[in-house]
Structures are given as C-alpha cells and as structure tokens.
C-alpha cells in the first residue's frame, strides 16, 4: 500500500474529472465519495484489506517523471503525461495520491468485472429462491449490474455441505461462499477470537472452524451481516422471512450503555431481526449477539398487557384515578429506571417535583467485554444524570430505599419497571406501603403492586438515550404496542396533570425537548429532537466527570479521555 500523503486532501482525476478526496483513503472509498461505485466483495471499510475477490479492478495511472531530472513529463499540449499501469489494479488496496488518474468505467474494467462475476458464479448454486440473503445480496446486485447476463459453464457445479453448524448462532452454506474472508478477518481483528479459516485448495476451498473450536463469541452474528452472499446465515433468522417484506426502523440497542446503533426489521407489527447500523462514532458496523435477541421480550409470556388494580383488570382511566388517590397528599417515593428514555426521566423528575417525592434509582452492572458490551447494563444511566432525576451515581441496589421504608417515611412508591425484591428491599418493609408499578413485564414487584400501569418497550415508542461517551441518540418506534396501551410519556404526563392541573407538560417529544433545553445550565441546550434523528449528538458531560463510571475503555470509548 502507498503511504498516506501529508496533505489533508489530494486531487485525483476520476474518470476524466478532477475531484478532491481525503488523503489516505483507498480508491473504493474515494470513488464512493463522488458517487462512483467500484463494486467489491472482500473489502470492508472497517476491516483490513485482503484484496482477494478482485472485483474492484480498475485502471490507474500516475503522472510520469523523468528518471534523470525528476521533472514531470509533459504532453505536447503541456498537460502532465500519465503513465498508466499496464494491467488493472485493485481499488481497495490502492491509496490515492496527488495527480492520480483512475478509470472506473473503461472497457477493460467492464471486461474484468464480467470475468470476475463469471468465475464467482461458476460454482454458485441457484439458491436465490430459498436464500435469506436474496434482496440484500451483493452477488445478486453485481451480477445484475456488472455481470454478463448468461452462463457459459456447461460442467457440473461443485457440491458442498449445505448446513454446517459453525457455532450456536451461525449456520454455513458452503456452496454459496465466495471465499472473500471477511468473516475470518472480522473474527481476528474485531472479535479477537481467531476460530475461522479456509481449508483445501482451488474450487474445493471451504470455510471452516479450527479443530475443536466453534464460532461462539458474542459477536459471531456480525459475520453474517458482513457476509456479502448468503453463505453465513443466522440460525435464528434462517428461513423466517424474506428481507423485502421487512420494514426497517432506526433504533438504539438497550442492552448496555454502549448504545449500539441498530436497525429493527419488522413486518406487520412483529419484529423479525435486529441488525447493527453503521455509526463510526459509536459502534462501527457491529453489535453484540446478545443484543439481537432483545426483541423476543416484546411477545414474552410475562408481558403486561392490561392495567390492573389489586390484580384485577380495569380500564386505563380507572387505574390512573386509583393511582392518583394513592399520591394525593401522601409521602411518595419514586424509583426511576436507567432503562427509561431521557424524556421519560425528565417527565418523571417533573412528577417528583409536583408530588414532592423522594427519588431513588439503581444501576445494573456486569462484566465489561471491551468492545460493545459495557459494564453498565442499562442504556441510559447518563440520561438519568442529565435529566436531573439522579444527582449521585446509582448503586447496584436500593438499600437506601429499604432504610427509608423501615423508618416508615413513605406511604406510596412509584416503581418504573424495577424489581425491588432483588434490590435489597425486604418484602416485610414494603408492607403498609402502596406500590404503583409502571413497567413492560411482570415481576415480583408488579405482583405486589396495588396499581399496575403497563408501558411500552423501546421497540414500541420513540425517545432518546445517552450512551457511555455522552452521545445522545434517538430511537424510533418500530412496531405498535399491545392494543389499548399508551406510551410511558403519555402516562407520566397524565399523572403529572392529575397532581398539578396547571402543568403544561406535553407528552410530545418535540415539546419535551424544548422544555429540557430551557433548564438552567442544561447540556441539552440548543439541541432538538429532530437533530437527533439526523445523527448522533455529543453533549458536554464535564459536570459529571468525577462520577465513578464503571465502563472500561472499549471500542470508541475512552474513560480517561477528558470529556469535551
């Protein structure tokens, strides 16, 4: 590879047009910046360059220099003479240099692509009707765009195993593999779990796991995403739904404070899969396998689907009225959750203001894997701090609440989805206290509660989370919630207006953002919800720099780095 130049940008000639591109980029990326597609299979912007698929062959030349004097050789008309490389070169392994000339649409390049496509398709099975990749398959796309259109192959195609189990979540269809080695490089470079390799030669080359090993790390399903063909398939999503039926919604992974950007694919109110969405500031193109299964909780058996008072089903208004009677002129304690969105936490702290309630919050912590599963297993702990709900770093239990309960300081508790009984709160100290439970799933606390108000999961509502590097990111509603349920924000704003009829807090996200940015010294000043829909916004977290954040340094996160 040519070493990147010293200047920030260089001018290259792309198909006869002078364009400016950042120095150090390769030709595939540089051409993409100017709307020219150089087809490629093995190259991935976030992996090392392998250069084995040969699909990105282009013609390249540099200005000629005189060997003796080092002076530029000029044409008769005074323009620099270009020394074209006699054979095509691969775009992915060629970095741009000043004055470089590139042809991406010449006859030679077209012939190269036709030839490469023909070789790739020689042993490729005609599986498209049952292949899960169909519709998002690079091979299908490039065969249409750059292929010959017919086959000259009369021999028999190779037969290879069709369902090899590479790991608990990944199934390999050997016949479809085009040997691009993206999955191998991903395992080595990103997952740091070197288990994949090619064995055998020529057309018998096969992707396989090393003896005694399997592709079982928590990032294994990313190999399925980056596979340009349908060779690596997700065992869970395999044969479930064709991709062209799926509606894609931008969302944020709720698994941990890493806040991976995700795409939720759903059809007719049912989520079928979750895939990572590229964001070079947060998660590159990756996400955890464990985060991909979170949509299964939407249809879980213990999902709360109707409001209830003392265990019997009531209408939503009735449940709200009962809840209101429990707050009125009572000593209220509110147990917030770091799993709520930023907007919900803001409304919840307004509710606390209106009822003069005491605020409690707990964190959920686990092991840090140094990539995209951080030690803080809630998506929005920083949101609790920024919204003003929490002013101390949450502990992993609620023993403070237990003490307050034992002293008899509280009459009513409002619980946001947390289970008090696994947070060091005794069932005995809860006796004599009324519990209003707002949550998506039943737990021990919801069973004790006098009023249960079911809320929606992150797939069924919109909002925003603040991740470990103080990036505010919006998630959007992918599917409708269960019939008859209203969003958490609506419940909270109804509760606030029942306590304080003069409150003008609306459940509308845009209006909440206006209210939030009006708060004095708020780091959210000047940001609106529509800004978040455009992309990730980093806020000033220096106010909280002395807090004992548990996250270790990981992908795109450096806790030592001074927060902006």
């Amino acid at each position: 590879m040519i070493a990147p130049g010293k200047e920030d940008s260089v001018v290259i000639n792309l198909d006869g047009k002078d364009v400016s591109v950042p120095s150090g980029t390769n030709l595939v990326d540089a051409a993409a910046l100017h709307g020219k597609e150089i087809p490629h299979y093995c190259y991935h912007p976030q992996l090392s360059v392998a250069g084995n698929c040969r699909m990105c062959l282009i013609e390249m030349g540099t200005p000629m220099r005189d060997r003796g004097s080092g002076k530029a050789v000029l044409n008769d008309d005074g323009s620099p003479k270009i020394g074209w490389v006699p054979k095509p070169v691969i775009g992915c392994a060629t970095n741009v240099s000043a004055g470089m000339h590139v042809k991406t649409e010449s006859d030679v390049v077209k012939e190269c692509r036709e030839g490469i496509m023909e070789f790739l398709l020689v042993n490729h099975p005609l599986d498209c009707p049952i292949c899960d990749q169909a519709g998002e398959c690079r091979l299908q796309e490039f065969a249409t765009d750059y292929g010959r259109g017919y086959s000259r192959f009369v021999e028999r195609k190779n037969v290879k195993p069709k369902r090899t189990r590479l790991g608990p979540r990944v199934t390999l269809d050997d016949e479809r593999c085009i040997l691009c080695s993206r999955c191998i490089r991903f395992s080595q470079e990103v997952a740091k779990d070197d288990v994949l390799g090619f064995v055998d030669r020529g057309s018998f080359s096969t992707l396989t796991c090393f003896p005694g090993k399997e592709l079982s790390n928590n990032y294994s399903l990313n190999t399925v995403d980056i596979c340009p063909v349908g060779a690596l398939t997700s065992t869970d999503f395999r044969f479930k739904m064709r991709v062209w039926f799926l509606k894609e919604t931008r969302s944020i992974c709720t698994e941990s404070s890493a806040g991976s950007n995700i795409t939720v694919s759903s059809r007719e109110g049912q989520v079928y899969r979750i895939t990572p969405r590229r964001n070079d500031l947060v998660n590159d193109s990756w996400m955890t396998d464990s985060g991909r299964t979170l949509f299964k909780t939407v249809k879980a058996e213990n999902r709360l689907v109707f409001p209830s008072v003392s265990g019997s089903r009531v209408s939503l208004t009735e449940a709200m009225d009962t809840a209101f009677k429990l707050f009125k002129n009572k000593r209220v304690g509110v147990i917030g959750s770091c799993k709520s969105s930023l907007e919900e936490l803001f409304l919840l702290s307004q509710f606390c203001k209106a009822t003069k309630a005491k605020k409690f919050i707990r964190g959920h912590f686990g092991e840090d894997d140094g990539i995209l599963l951080s030690a803080d297993r809630t998506p929005n702990l920083r949101g609790a701090l920024v919204s003003g709900f929490a002013n101390k770093y949450p502990k992993s239990d609620l023993s403070i609440l237990n003490m307050a309960l034992q002293k008899g300081e509280l009459d009513t508790l409002v619980v946001m989805g947390e289970n008090l009984l696994d947070s060091k709160v005794d069932a005995a100290s809860l006796s004599g206290t009324e519990v209003v439970f707002l949550g998506t799933h039943a737990n021990e606390t919801s069973k004790l509660a006098s009023v249960v108000l079911p809320t929606l999961t992150a797939f069924e509502k919109s909002g925003s989370f603040i991740n470990r590097s103080f990036y505010v990111q919006a998630f959007l509603q992918a599917i409708p919630g269960p019939a008859g349920l209203i969003p958490d924000l609506q419940i909270l704003s109804n509760l606030i207006s029942s306590v304080d009829p003069e409150s003008d807090l609306s459940p509308d996200l845009k209006k909440i953002w206006i209210a939030m940015s009006r708060v004095r010294n708020s780091p959210l000043k000047g940001i609106s919800f529509s800004d978040l829909k455009q992309g990730t916004v980093q806020i000033d977290g220096s106010k909280w720099k002395n807090m004992p954040f548990v996250e270790k340094s990981a992908l795109h996160h450096n806790p030592m780095m001074k927060i902006k």
Partner: protein, 181 residues
Amino acid sequence: MAKTRVLKRIPLSLSERTYLPQIVTGLKTTFSNMFKEKVTLQYPEEKPSIPQNYRGIPTLVKDPNGREKCVSCQLCEFVCPPKAIRITPGEVPDGDVSREHVEKAPEEFEINMLRCIYCGFCQEVCPEEAIYLQDEYSSSGYTREEMINKKDKLYELGGTLPDEHYKWDNKKKAELEGNPH
C-alpha cells in the same frame, strides 16, 4: 325546441288480426332448433370443457414423484396485487429422508379466495413452477374461513402435474456423481 312528431296508427290487416302467420313463423324456429346440435349444458352436473390456459383457482402442485415443489420463497405473496396469499415459511429438518435435499418448505400456505382476483401473477412469478391456476373456477363456502384455502386443500386441488425438471432428483444425482467434496 325539438318538434314532437305524431305517428299515424295503421289498422291491422285481417291476417295480422288472426296472429296465425306469426305463430307459424315462431314454431318454425322452435322445431328447426330441435334437430340442431345442443348448445346448453346441465350445469352444475355437466361442466364445460375448460381451455388449457384458463385462469381458475390457484393451486399448489407436486412433482411426479409426489414431492412438494414449493420452497416458500414468498415471491407470490410479494407479487399478489390483492394480498390474498399468506405463507409461513419453515425449515425442513436435516434428517427428513422423504424430503432429502429440501431445505425450506411452507409450513402453512393460505390463499384467501375472497381476495383472489385470478390474475395469475403468482403462477408467472413462481421460480419453482409450484403454483398453477388450473381449471377449477367455482368455489363456495358458508363462512369466510371456509373461503381461505389452506395448504392441504391447495395440494388436493392441485394434484400432480407433469414436470421436466425433477429438481430434487437432480440434486441427489449431483451429490452422488458431481464434484462432491
């Protein structure tokens, strides 16, 4: 303004007043038809012969070996203009001897005949030649549910059609004789 023209009534002649010439003419037509070839059918006991390219009820067919051809690619579901087709795809387990070399097959296949418009797009789009609009055209039922043809009914209606591909046999042959790994 248009002018109304008043027609003059002409009185009937004697022969016209007897009606006899008219009756005779009518009977002549009747009796001449008695000796011609019949054009009516005793429907529904007798049914007309249906031309080859007729678009009747969509059905699923099996190959001559009695194997399911549909691989639940859901292209018919995608192309269906009135959204009458609904497929639940399913994976065929590896050890299923009767269906070896088949990886995917419909777990459920529903065609709602209340929605179907007999356009034949499903037959046209099918890459496996598994769905055909055949000669059956009349379907009736007492409830809406009865009008949704399930997988069993669709195979019963479809039966077996001649096939020149024998896809699954060829797959087996390729594995045995081809370039096995």
